[in-house]
């Protein structure tokens, strides 16, 4: 057990956690932030992506104990003052989702890309999202959404 201090979606928290608890379980079970989904349990499908100090990580293979002092943003913390992030707006507008299960991770990955690179090419978008699997859409709407959001950020 260790006491960790982290900031999640702008809120500072201090909690005692077991050494082996995964960030995805911590978010979902301790903080009821269930927007972060677990799709494959093994860091491959990307449904669990969150931002750790501004970088996208797969929370299903991140230990909370390693996050002491970190700032974490989850899908629930992306909108600010009730206004959706341009990437969220674009996924809705361009039908970048169907069943929605991969969407939170996909959106968080896309936001990270656009924060690092202003106007990515279509190829760069495809390369970046390689670690996020969607089984429904065929990705067309997703790529269109990221392109559109890039023009609005």
């Amino acid at each position: 057990m260790a006491v960790i201090n982290i900031e999640i979606n702008g809120k500072k928290i201090s909690k005692e956690v077991p050494d082996n608890i995964l960030l995805s379980d911590f978010l979902r079970e301790r903080l009821t932030l269930t927007g972060t989904h677990v799709g494959c349990d093994t860091s491959q499908c990307g449904a669990c992506v969150v931002h750790l100090n501004g970088n996208s990580v797969k929370s299903c293979t991140t230990l909370v104990a390693d996050c002491d002092g970190a700032k974490i943003t989850t899908i629930e913390g992306l909108a600010s003052n009730g206004k959706m992030h341009p990437v969220q707006e674009a996924f809705k507008k361009h039908h970048g989702l169907q069943c929605g299960f991969c969407t939170p991770g996909m959106v968080m990955s896309a936001v990270d890309l656009l924060e690092k690179k202003k106007n990515p090419s279509e190829q760069e978008i495809r390369d970046w999202l390689e670690g996020n699997i969607c089984r429904c859409t065929g990705y067309q709407g997703i790529v269109a959404a990221v392109k559109d959001a890039a023009s609005k950020m």
Binding site: D25, R28, T32, L33, T34, G35, T36, H37, V38, G39, C40, D41, T42, Q44, C45, A47, T74, I75, E76, L78, A79, M84, V87, Q88, E89, F91, K92, K93, H95, L97, Q98, C99, G100, F101, C102, T103, P104, V107, I125, R126, D127, L129, E130, N132, I133, C134, R135, C136, T137, G138, Y139, Q140, G141, I142, V143
Partner: protein, 768 residues
Amino acid sequence: MKIENFINENRPHESAIKHVSGQAHYTDDIPEPPGTLYGAIGWSKKSHAIIKKINLDEVIKSEGVIAVVTEDDIVGRNDVGPVFDGDPIFPKKAEYYGQPLYAVAATTTELARKAVLKAKISYKTLKPITTIQEALKKKSFVLKEKIIKKGEALKAIENSPYRLKGNFTTGSQEHFALEGQAAFVIPQEDNDFKVFSKTQHPSETQQIIAKMLNQKSNTITVETRRIGGSFGGTETQSFIFAAICTLLAKKTKRAVKLRIDRDDDIIITGKRHDFYSEYEVGFDELGVIKGLKLKLASRCGISPDLSGAINDRALLHIDNAYYLENVLLENYLCKTNTASNTAFRGFGGNQGMMAIENIIDHIATSLKKDSAEIRRRNFYQKKKKNITHYNMKIEDNIIQEIFDQLIKSSNYKSRMQNIKKFNSENKYIKKGIAMTPVKFGISFTTWHLNQAGALVHIYFNDGSVHVNTGAIEMGQGTYTKIAQLAANALGLPFNKIKVSATRTDKVPNTSASAASSTTDLNGAATLNAISKIKKNLSEYVKRKYKIKNSEGIYENGMVKFKGKIFKFNKLIKEAYLNRVSLSSSGFYATPKIHFDKKNFKGRPFLYFCYSAAVSEVIIDILTGENKILRADILHDAGRAINPAIEMGQIEGGFVQGAGWLGCEEVNWKTNGQITTHSPSTYKIPAVSDMPEKFNAEIFKKGKNIENVINKSKTTGEPPLMNAMSVFFAIKNAIASIRDYNINPKLDAPATPERILMSIKNLKKKYEK
């Protein structure tokens, strides 16, 4: 709905905002009552064995474990088979690697998963049957074989100027819905259970649990708000998880949640049937098929599950879009010691279609003709050559129009010339192109399943509308489309309609959300309920205002009767105060269909969906690596209710089909152990596998000639089969190595390994 008042509105998915902000609840996200426990399942490590002893002492002692359940805890039916028995919840004899044997409930998921690993099981190992070939040899079948005849196939083949023989295999496919199997059960008073299940079929989940507990169906309520994809993977395969979760809840008298780890999910559940076919075909100099003998054998796994209906659909689609005058079909449903194969988008239809497409492709190469031309020459026609091999007259055929339009818009012919030139100039990189049609029959082939119910309430204080149906929202947008239909019928804005979670205590006796028919059936039932409420309203208005023979027109929040106009809300309030019912159930049963399964004759489908696709690929003949360069699709969605949602199905279905025929390969060891049990060993198309150019279009002249909601056509399964063009484009690229003179032997999926094998065989043949 006013006549000709069609909807054609691109509207975002009804849960889009919730999805992009993480607010949409899936089964594992539902808030838990205090004391909730978590389950895990222990499964067989042998694919065929007598279980001599299961020692669970260490499991029970394991940290956090509250209860263990085994076969002994089942008081009623120990089986989750939907039509026939054969899928025991906990078996006496292990029949496949991964078959559940016991389960635990513990204080955390982690502790439960750790505990199940501690069982000591002694097995007496038996020899497993793991392949279709072995099962055919040993006559190991889950159901009786079928022989179907039309005309005189053998004679026609014999009398044909040209004849070919061959065999062909299409592979299995893991559903890999992003949300895995999950259930959450809360015990209620009177030994009732509230079951939340990730399922396409709440009603059957309810019945199976009731039978397992030896309780009445009215003691079990199953609720499903949405599921994170499914594609057939929870039409029946979810039952065992909901059943085990209920057993644990019953034993512990506490709420239990059971979310299956991805690897366990893939190991425990069945997948798409792989099919093996042997064919003999006779045709004329134009490539027109005169006679066909086809043997179709599928891997069903340990039990019938839905294999009967799936194989029937394969048999019903071996014609795809082609007129077959003389047919002899044999169908074998192979029993193997692997998980029971099940529904998967296309439901056997696509496997049947691949068998005939491979034959057509073979004919084209043997005549050294363009395969698209041979396809066209074999199409069903409108006035003659329009009776299927199961004696149904095709009345809505538009495949010719779709094919002709796409061949032009995709520049198929000039691109083929360019590709030939490219191939003659490049030794190691080859391109290929192919065009394939789709004709897919819509309706459940099991007649009684073609029915649906709905429940509609209008609340008097604000005129808001509540809709409930048997439809399961799995991403296909059925809630959105049903709400659009309801809003249109009542002349209300979309936001006044709420479609609520599907529940067995609101709409009973529902069919699975499957067979592409969910919105057709449930949308029609919703409109039926609304029409009953409208009838109540119009009778009231006629009575009160002495208006004769006037039906209300519902538009823009107003209701217009002859000489009297109401605001919708005002009319509703007034009706309530005058004691008029504002709630109704609705019902729909698909008309016209009938099918005699024994003689394999009738009209199993209300209508057909048509489509065509052109794909261009590039392959590296030294590594087998390949890529789709361009795909063009023209798809018939009738008068689409929500074209944007249909387009999502068209694109997504194509990519899923390209996975089935390309990169997705399920593998078993000879001892029956599955080796492709995680995304690290099983490759699903990623964003980088998408065609570089992807032109998907809805056929603008599309219209359903049958009386279907909005004159629309479903887009659930049919788009998947457009990916057949990818497979034959790869084959076309391989054939270019020997100047298109030899038919390459290529089985699906066309993985890089298979492509290399095909090239190697081709070279060998050439050297002979």
